[in-house]
């Protein structure tokens, strides 16, 4: 560690103004602050000093994502061996999953950070930290069999069109990771939806066991009009509440295990990085909406028990990691409740009423991202009005 610090100090003058590699200053700065807590503190204007800068913040979020990632790696292997009917031990499953998942993570980071560094150099500002999290979120919301070049295209699109055109990290309207997923969803629907892609190896038909269904629970419930879909969701079925909670079901890499996501949620809440108001209100909105549909019960998906709805698909993942994005979400306290609640409501609404989009969480969050500034505006204006009344009275 000390040697590294000394080395950095030695080469640092080269990157300062007038140095040999002055042009590469932002790249050097990015690496230095990633490795060491910067020595400089703000000198003017700021009145609250915190030990944590945005690189540390992002690092904590990445740590909170690790349980979901590890579970996703194991589950990718587990589902694959289940589908092909081979028995396998714990380590082969991890090995198979790692071969499938890690390349996606690497591609996402290399492409995303590459573009971030390029823009930072061109514009002559520091490399922003936002992508450290987005780069981990993107692989976790994709199916394991997604071709790597598609990951690269979607990541590039998300970083350039979703973020840099608005001015970079902190200025984006939508969550970049969801932009990447939405892009893939509309651009290459055959790789992002259907019954074959959620279990690794299944689309190539590698000796699938008879009667094995690789559909996600939501896809299945949406398609089957008879009680059959619900049967798989009921106790003892493949997608019963316990399996869905633990996450031993087909789905995107990081989204299946509500348990692993909740571990991440605890980390985020204990460190105070994610906002509990948003998280709680997303779950509340989803639960109330699903419960209301249970009472109506007009179609197959309306009958899925409310608690079960929250464990299926990307609901928990979206609520914990996507909706709480401080940049694209609402910022006023009251606004956070409204924003979160409506995400939950819309997610379930889209799931139930639109069989073409069995997963509504992505679209619900993007929609509410769009409306978050409007919600904030209304809340702030109300506050101003209320206080003006007090002054004038």
């Amino acid at each position: 560690m000390k040697a590294l610090r000394q080395y950095l100090d030695k080469i640092k003058p080269n990157f300062e103004k007038g140095g040999k590699f002055e042009k590469l200053h932002s790249s050097f700065d990015a690496f230095e602050t990633l490795l060491f807590v910067p020595k400089t503190t703000s000198k003017t204007g700021v009145h609250i000093h915190d030990a944590i800068d945005s690189k540390r913040t992002m690092a904590v979020v990445v740590m909170a994502l690790i349980p979901a990632l590890l579970f996703g790696i194991w589950n990718t292997g587990y589902q694959h061996f289940l589908a092909t009917g081979q028995g396998a031990d714990f380590w082969p499953m991890i090995g198979y999953g790692a071969i499938k998942v890690l390349p996606i993570v690497i591609v996402s980071y290399v492409v995303g950070l590459g573009i971030e560094f390029m823009f930072a150099q061109l514009r002559g500002h520091e490399v922003a930290e936002g992508f450290l999290v987005s780069g981990m979120l993107i692989p976790l919301v994709l199916p394991a069999d997604i071709p790597l070049w598609m990951v690269a295209v979607a990541t590039a699109f998300a970083v350039v069109i979703g973020k840099e055109v608005f001015g970079g990290t902190g200025m984006n309207i939508w969550n970049p990771a969801l932009i990447a997923r939405a892009f893939l969803f509309f651009a290459y629907p055959s790789k992002m939806s259907g019954d074959l892609i959620w279990v690794s190896g299944m689309s190539k038909g590698e000796g699938i066991v008879d009667g094995f269904s690789g559909a996600t629970a939501l896809g299945e419930a949406a398609v089957l009009k008879s009680g059959e879909g619900l049967g798989r969701l009921a106790d003892g079925g493949v997608y019963d509440l316990w399996n869905s909670f633990i996450g031993m079901i087909p789905g995107s890499i990081g989204e299946t295990s509500t348990l692993a996501i909740l571990i991440g949620a605890v980390i985020l809440l204990l460190t105070g990085i994610a906002n509990w108001k948003i998280m709680v209100s997303v779950f509340a909105g989803g639960f109330i909406m699903a419960y209301g549909f249970n009472l109506i019960g007009a179609n197959e998906l309306m009958n899925v028990p409310a608690l079960h709805q929250l464990c299926l698909g990307g609901f928990a993942f979206g609520a914990v990691f996507m909706a709480t994005d401080p940049v694209s979400g609402a910022r006023t306290d009251k606004g956070k409740y409204i924003y979160g609640f409506l995400i939950g409501v819309f997610a379930i609404l889209i799931r139930v009423f639109n069989p073409a989009y069995p997963e509504g969480v992505m679209l619900a969050i993007l929609l509410m991202n769009t409306f978050a500034p409007l919600i904030d505006h209304v809340i702030v204006q109300q506050n101003i009005k209320r206080r003006l009344k007090r002054v004038n009275a």
Partner: protein, 218 residues
């Protein structure tokens, strides 16, 4: 203006070249966006649309310019509409007679040339105050500026979205070789959807303004 001014004086040439870049109707004035989004999923409709708009705009400009001293200013909009509508019906009938397939693809958008902001805008801003020859050049320039953007957008949308290029007279050409698809390449279905037309126009605006800093607004 003196009578001796040559037909293609520097000033007149500007009438054609300006709308291609610094005064582009789509990327700078942001007019005619709706049709730019609607007809650019394939290259052929975009080319035909550009030609139709050029025909309508040039002749409408000439006619209004000829009439400019006799039109009472109170009813000038309705006179302009009559002229434009007559030309659009002409174009529509010609397309239906000689290029039926394309006319089906363009559907209502040929009729909607009447409401294309570029045409009314040029009539109001230019033809009502200038001589027929200049007005004709202005029409050619603006329609070309519109057409260039349409064709660029349609080229990328069709190439990336369908892997083909459809040219008038040549039919649909497969540009992306089959070997690519065998290796796992897939067409980007998002490019055919209207949002990507907007994004493509946005990227053109971005590139244009970063090359010419004078165009950047505050």
């Amino acid at each position: 203006m003196s009578d001796k001014e040559p037909l293609f004086s520097a000033k007149n040439r500007k009438l054609i070249t300006n709308p291609l870049n610094a005064q582009n109707p789509i990327t700078i004035q942001v007019l005619g966006i709706c049709s730019a989004l609607a007809v650019t999923a394939k290259l052929e409709p975009a080319i035909v649309m550009s030609i139709s708009v050029m025909f309508v705009l040039v002749f409408a400009n000439i006619l209004i310019s000829l009439l400019r001293n006799t039109i009472p200013s109170r009813i000038r909009i309705i006179v302009q509409l009559v002229v434009v509508a007559a030309l659009v019906i002409l174009v529509d009938q010609i397309l239906k007679a000689f290029a039926y397939e394309v006319s089906k693809q363009l559907s209502v958008f040929v009729g909607l040339i009447i409401t294309n902001c570029i045409i009314m805008g040029r009539l109001e801003a230019f033809a009502l105050g200038n001589k027929p020859w200049q007005s004709a050049l202005d029409g050619v320039g603006n329609a070309a500026g519109y057409g260039v953007i349409l064709i660029i957008v349609a080229f990328f949308r069709e190439l990336l979205g369908s892997g083909t290029l459809t040219l008038p007279g040549l039919g649909t050409l497969n540009i992306i070789p089959q070997a690519f698809y065998d290796m796992g390449y897939a067409n980007n279905g998002f490019m055919i959807l209207p949002p990507m037309a907007l994004v493509t126009v946005g990227i053109i605006i971005w590139v244009q303004r970063s090359r010419n800093k004078d165009l950047v607004e505050d």
